[in-house]
């Protein structure tokens, strides 16, 4: 089976000026998270879509889905975890308990605050996860990357063409992902905030899927303003 996990566990500490997590703020005529879920709902290769939110936003999310997407038994809302990895494990445990996991099961994990993800990116993720077991969506780095160990002086300027910016989705063979997460030490768990990094740390290959410059993450108030402006511009 193919599962999608929409990670909406964050409380948006960087958003500022609002108590509502950024994924629930309006983008055009509907909340950001609804735009994101719609991209997965129309892909009929995906069997179940699990939306992971803070506990106190579960009912709110269910109501939003009812209002904008309608009755859809393939979309399930459950509680996320404290960290990204906890959230991911919650989705895997839910899948295991309710649907079972076999060696072909894959999960597409996606930030709820990336509503501009394309159908093509999702399709490429499905294909790469099936074929290779793990993939990450990236775009080539456009700015020069500068490394500084002390935050005062440059220690290194790596060759830009070797660098990419990570986006989501990140997609995995579920059995492979859960066995790697379970093998982490406590120290590793604390530093490994990115699921792909778990793979690379354990010597497992992660393949690249081409992202899009439009697949932006709505992190700061500026991003949301920009996203709304782009949408409004199109309606002129």
């Amino acid at each position: 089976m193919i599962f999608a996990a929409i990670l909406a566990g964050g409380i948006g500490s960087r958003m500022g000026g609002t108590d509502t997590p950024k994924q629930f703020l309006p983008l055009g005529d509907r909340p950001v998270i609804i735009h994101t879920i719609e991209k997965f709902v129309i892909n009929n290769k995906i069997d179940k879509i699990i939306v992971l939110t803070p506990q106190n936003f579960i009912n709110h999310t269910i109501h939003l889905i009812d209002e904008y997407i309608g009755d859809n038994t393939n979309v399930i809302v459950i509680e996320g975890g404290e960290t990204r990895n906890d959230t991911l494990m919650n989705s895997i445990n839910y899948i295991d308990e309710n649907f079972g996991i076999d060696d072909d099961s894959i999960i597409i994990t996606h930030d709820s605050v990336r509503p501009f993800v394309t159908h093509r990116i999702i399709e490429d993720n499905i294909e790469a996860a099936k074929k290779y077991g793990a993939c990450d969506t990236v775009v080539p780095a456009t700015d020069t990357i500068v490394e500084s160990g002390d935050g005062i002086k440059i220690s290194n300027i790596p060759v830009r063409s070797n660098y990419y910016q990570g986006q989501t989705p990140q997609s995995f063979n579920i059995n492979k992902l859960s066995s790697l997460i379970n093998s982490l030490t406590d120290d590793e768990t604390n530093i490994l905030t990115d699921a792909c990094k778990i793979f690379t740390l354990k010597g497992e290959d992660v393949y690249l899927v081409g992202g899009e410059v439009t697949n932006i993450k709505i992190t700061y108030p500026y991003d949301l303003k920009l996203a709304n402006t782009i949408l409004e511009d199109n309606h002129d």
Partner: protein, 338 residues
């Protein structure tokens, strides 16, 4: 739902844009597209400046196929391969919808097919069989233009159809000649062209002539002009001279310039001039049926493909347009991975 559209912002410059589509009707993921000369005129900036100002930014391409990913009405299964109809009627009219001012056309009046997803009304897609050649299917729309022109010709022609002449050795001339042979197997179909290299590919035509080397006394019953641009003037003139009285001249070629026509001979011979542009649903259904019944047509039509380009980025799209522009003949097919 949010959709990403790749629009021509100004000549030779594409950009990503964000659009919204309603989840009503059919949503198609484009797979194989084909560049038309009309797209090329926008890309090169050869349309008049006021037209470019009015129409851009706009997604180009109106020839293409795709796969259904969603259908709110359940007429299509997810994964069905379909050809997309670019003409989009907004209301009923007394004329065919492809000539109606109440219709919009993709890649001309609104966005064409270069996007992540395309939302269409259910009657704007026609299912194609699984075994169709996908590269050729990408330009079914162009085939439908010839198809509908020939269907209209059949309705208006009153004199015999023993000898049919096609002027123009480009893509549309090739398709029109092939379809005339298919539709009227007993007629003699003659191709008149300028480029020997191109004419050599018209092996299915009964006779082939270079326009400067037409035998004395040759006449045709009806003519099909597939030349376009300023060169259509000399083509139409030759047609008027060679055509039998009460014949029809079927015009297909697009010109940016007004073309002078020898009306004296048109009057004297009682000729009928019929314009042809675009096509409608019945033409798509007809072409899909014709190709299903006679798959060997794919072998001929495949000869038209001169470039196949994988499109993974906007730079790839630009490169494909540049490649198409320098190709003297044939179609450029875009395998749409963007």
């Amino acid at each position: 739902m949010i959709n990403i559209v790749y629009r021509l912002k100004s000549p030779k410059f594409f950009e990503e844009s964000i659009d919204e589509i309603e989840l009503e009707g059919v949503v198609v993921r484009p797979t194989y597209l084909s560049i038309c000369q009309a797209d090329q005129r926008y890309y090169q900036g050869s349309r008049p400046a006021e037209i470019l100002d009015k129409k851009l930014p706009m997604a180009l391409i109106h020839e293409g196929i795709g796969e259904v990913i969603f259908d709110s009405e359940g007429n299509f299964e997810s994964g069905d391969k379909v050809v997309m109809i670019p003409n989009t009627p907004l209301e009923e009219d007394v004329c065919r919808a492809n000539y109606s001012y109440k219709s919009k056309f993709r890649g001309s009046g609104f966005d064409g097919f270069t996007s992540d997803l395309i939302k269409l009304e259910s009657d704007r897609v026609v299912k194609i069989p699984e075994n169709f050649n996908l590269h050729v299917s990408a330009f079914i729309e162009l085939i439908t233009v010839a198809y509908q022109g020939i269907a209209k010709f059949e309705e208006i022609s009153v004199t015999p159809k023993d000898v049919l002449g096609v002027w123009g050795d480009g893509n549309l001339g090739f398709i029109t000649t092939l379809l005339l042979k298919e539709k009227f197997p007993k007629s003699k179909v003659i191709i008149f062209g300028k480029h020997q290299d191109n004419l050599d590919l018209f092996s299915f035509a009964d006779e082939i002539y270079r326009i400067h080397d037409v035998p004395e006394g040759l006449v045709v019953d009806h003519g099909f002009e597939c030349v376009g641009s300023s060169a259509s003037q000399s083509a139409i003139d030759q047609m008027i001279n060679l055509i039998n009285p009460q014949g029809t001249i079927n015009l297909f070629g697009v010109s940016e310039y007004p073309i002078p026509i020898n009306t004296r001979f048109v009057l004297e011979k009682g000729l009928t001039l019929q314009g042809n542009s675009r096509s409608e649903r019945e033409d798509f259904v007809g072409v899909v049926e014709m190709l299903s019944k006679n798959p060997k047509l794919f072998d001929y039509l495949e000869k038209l493909i001169t470039n196949t380009c994988e499109i993974n980025s906007l730079d790839d799209l630009k490169e494909a347009f540049d490649k198409d522009y320098i190709s003297k003949f044939g179609k450029t097919i875009l395998k749409w991975n963007k």
